[in-house]
């Protein structure tokens, strides 16, 4: 069986493939340089120049005591809400760890759905339920508490992040080495002691990772403090307000730049804990699907059940309030049904909505693909210098959205990159802001795939492109789909970066929502929020369905083994 083609022609095919491979890499690098690095540098540059002259004025202004208080405030709420979220998320994750498979699946689905949370509506629901005239605090309990202030910020950030944090932690719990748990029990430790001595240390890297991720997210969050912060000032909102009140781009940029060091620190710790997590996944049988259930002492069980129950109650209240607000004026304290809000939807609502869906779908696909490619070139091909690129790609996630959006305006308003005012700028912004999400997922997935698969394919004659298409991408399909869901959802609900990128005829649903709230049209806002939630849910369910199907395929649902049972075979 000789080769069918002479060597020279075969070599040509490989040259072409290698060229394409370089091209792909080049596009990836160019994209990251152009759409992540360049805008960020533009903003940083803005903080150092006042009308063309170099100055440190903005930073000097920031060193005043008032601004130090600002940083203090930011750190306080961020740390507090991150810690609280982690604690609650841990409780829920621990509960699912010890619960039946059916309950676990139910909770997981609920968590995924509750991640769909358009901005500001939770804050409004919170005010309506627990505010000065809140349904629960005032009408029910006769209290008149003030929800505005740091307590409101912490409460809302905590509630808002629990779903996300819990899902991350559940992943950590799933990866626990079953053998270690069994060994602990075997050596005489009770379930509680095993929990303390074996389980928790195993998930400790995961907990730290979640903590740091939450920290950076909360630090950059400007939507929550704007609605419920009252007089409590934090860095993220300050940057935004500096921009729209005094158009002091220099000062806003300086504030944003100041938020980078703590975020980098958190990222550094995240990377350190990630490398330690990798040691756990050594192929030993993991907990999930092992059929073994973990029994905890009653008292602890009840606490956990309480937390989970509380979570569901809070979520029910939140979404219930939003739904109710679409047909009734909840602020008036009475329930009267009206379809007025549906009629009052702005003229541009439908086209903005359509834009949102299209842009978010494109961004979902593109971000997932680019993130996977980035992970591939960095961790599989191990090309030099890619770790730096990976870091750059994670920057947008660390900095406040408003900062990133402003960078886009500054960077792309003149030739030759004049894409302001087009759909492209919004799509690019959505996409490149979230590459880091799929990058991290792909990293985790790759660490579980045999390193030798690609060399084996190469060995068997596949070109670089054939390897990407036939081996890497098919194996990462689950990552692609889950990231698509995540990116799509956050694109549909994002406001921070987009606030400065919309233009006439190029609006998106989340900004329409923002405008409604800014103008006090809460009923209409509720309708818009519900629309966003429904559409996002629909697309997510579709993607989840595709995900389940592809998982079944890989596990061998279709293949049939021959009649002889494996135990009887002659090997």
């Amino acid at each position: 069986m000789e080769t069918n083609q002479p060597l020279a022609r075969r070599a040509g095919r490989y040259r072409v493939a290698n060229l394409l491979d370089w091209l792909l890499l080049g596009l990836l690098l160019a994209g990251i340089a152009l759409f992540i690095l360049y805008p960020i540098l533009s903003v940083i540059a803005t903080s150092f120049f006042d009308q063309g002259e170099f100055t440190l004025r903005y930073y000097q202004d920031l060193m005043s005591s008032a601004n130090l208080k600002l940083m203090q405030n930011s750190l306080w709420v961020t740390t507090l809400s991150s810690c609280l979220t982690t604690i609650f998320a841990f409780c829920i994750a621990l509960y699912t760890f010890t619960a039946s498979a059916r309950r676990r699946a139910f909770i997981q689905r609920s968590l995924l759905l509750t991640m769909i949370s358009p901005p500001f509506v939770s804050a409004l629901a919170f005010i309506m339920l627990f505010g000065r005239r809140g349904l629960i605090t005032y009408q029910l309990l006769g209290l008149s508490i003030n929800p505005y202030g740091w307590q409101g910020i912490v409460a809302l950030q905590t509630i808002g992040n629990i779903s996300f944090a819990t899902l991350l932690l559940m992943g950590s719990f799933d990866a626990i080495d079953l053998k270690q748990v069994l060994a602990s029990r075997d050596l005489g430790a009770s379930p509680l002691q095993t929990l303390w001595r074996v389980v928790i240390p195993s998930v400790r890297p995961g907990i730290l990772s979640v903590l740091f991720t939450l920290f950076t997210m909360n630090l950059a969050d400007f939507g929550t403090p704007i609605v419920i912060g009252g007089r409590y000032k934090v860095l993220a909102t300050e940057a935004y307000l500096q921009v729209i009140s005094t158009a002091n781009l220099g000062k806003a940029s300086a504030i944003s730049v100041l938020m980078i060091p703590p975020a980098i620190l958190a990222f550094y710790f995240y990377r350190k804990t990630l490398s330690r997590t990798a040691n756990l996944a050594d192929g030993s049988k993991s907990f999930s699907g092992s059929g073994y259930t973990f029994e905890l002492p009653r008292s602890i069980r009840w606490v956990l059940v309480g937390v989970v129950g509380l979570f569901f109650v809070v979520m029910a209240l939140k979404y219930g309030n939003i739904l109710l607000s679409t047909v009734s004026n909840t602020a008036s304290g009475e329930i009267q049904f009206t379809t007025r809000y549906f009629q009052d939807l702005p003229r541009s609502q439908m086209s903005s909505f359509w834009h949102s869906i299209v842009y978010s779908i494109i961004a979902g696909g593109a971000a997932s693909l680019l993130g996977i490619l980035l992970s591939y070139y960095t961790h599989r091909r191990k090309l030099p210098g890619m770790k730096v690129v990976e870091f750059v790609a994670s920057l947008p996630y660390i900095i406040p959205g408003t900062f990133f959006g402003l960078g886009y305006v500054a960077a792309f308003s003149h030739e030759p990159l004049m894409i302001r005012g087009t759909a492209a700028i919004i799509v690019f912004n959505y996409t490149f802001r979230q590459i880091s999400v799929s990058n991290k997922s792909a990293n985790a997935a790759f660490s579980a795939i045999d390193e030798k698969l690609e060399p084996a394919a190469q060995d068997l004659g596949a070109s670089r492109i054939e390897i990407l298409r036939g081996i890497v991408l098919p194996l990462l399909k689950p990552v692609f789909l889950t990231c698509f869901i995540t990116v799509f959802t956050s694109s549909m609900t994002a406001v921070g970066a987009i606030a400065f990128l919309i233009s006439p005829g190029r609006n998106v649903a989340s900004m329409e929502l923002f405008q409604s709230i800014e103008n006090g049209r809460y009923g209409v806002a509720a309708v818009q929020a519900v629309m966003i939630i429904l559409v996002t849910m629909a697309v997510n369910l579709l993607a989840m369905h595709l995900l389940d199907r592809s998982r079944k395929q890989q596990k061998g649902g279709k293949g049939h083994v021959s009649a002889t049972e494996p135990s009887q075979e002659a090997v």
């Binding site: 008032a66 000065r132 912060g229 307000l241 921009v243 158009a247 541009s348 305006v409 233009s503």
Partner: protein
Amino acid sequence: MKKVLASLLASAMLATAFAGCSGDNSSSGGSGTAEKPYEGTTLSVMLAYGGAEATFDAFTEKTGIKVEYVEISTGEALAQLQAANGSTTADVWFGGGVDSYIAAAELGYLEQYVSPEAEAINPTYRDKDGYWTGLALVPAGFLVNNDVLEEKGLDIPKTWEDLADPQYKNEIIMASPAISGTQYAILNGTLQAWGEEKGWDIWSRINDNVDFYAKGGGEPGPKTCAGEYGIAILAMTGSTFALEEEYPVTAVYPEDMIPWTPAPIGIFKDSENKEAAKIFVDYMLSKEGQEALREADARIMAREDVEVPSAIGNVDTSKLIQQDVTLFGSQREAILEKWDALAGEKDS
């Protein structure tokens, strides 16, 4: 096969997205008739005037010019402009804070245009160089929640000075003048009327009654309607008065003086459809346009021959402050700095 379908679908979506979006921007003018010379053109509008979009259809019918808009606060719009050095895809700026327009004009972002219709508009309500023209006047006043005041045994405030009364502690809510154009107008106008010394003193005492400053002009109203606060300071438009029917609130014009701000309209220097934009501006300043706007959301229109609508209650136009609107622009930085020193704690 699946892959082929998927890529086809993806390209189809991409195509529609980009085609649908980029096509509209170009001015396909020249396809018009003598009567509708710019038929087929599409104007892009940055809008900060509640309810105005209802008038766009009538305009399109009359002139054949389509209107696309995005609702965006003038603060955000100005920031966009600054970051882009004046370059923008929008043609017209509609409504919002006049101080932003003044700043924009100074930075060279606006086009000079004095509409022939501007003759019917009082010169106080328009820029003398023609960079912007007032569409309407937005008076400011109070919105009080009767239930709350009754419950707490408070009197309905009658004047601005009344607000300084300590009985209203923690019951007043208003927007930050750094963000809300209306609120800034209130601050600047009253300072002009009272004079600096008296003015800052009164505001300092009012500040003691405020818990925190809202970050949007649209916040005080709903919050007072919901009963969270007893008194809101806000713009008085038709929709403000309409709240009286739904909630236990009353809209009150202060008896000592009524601050006001013009809601302007302007054309961007970077616009590619200046001629069509001018037609738009002419329409909005014409009697027909002004009446349409007034129907959409009741305000005192800038044109002198358009009647003051009854929907905004009994406004005593003689109480409108005699103020120099150009000072809104020039004094902004100084006033806001002083405001920050005064109220900085509660304001952002």
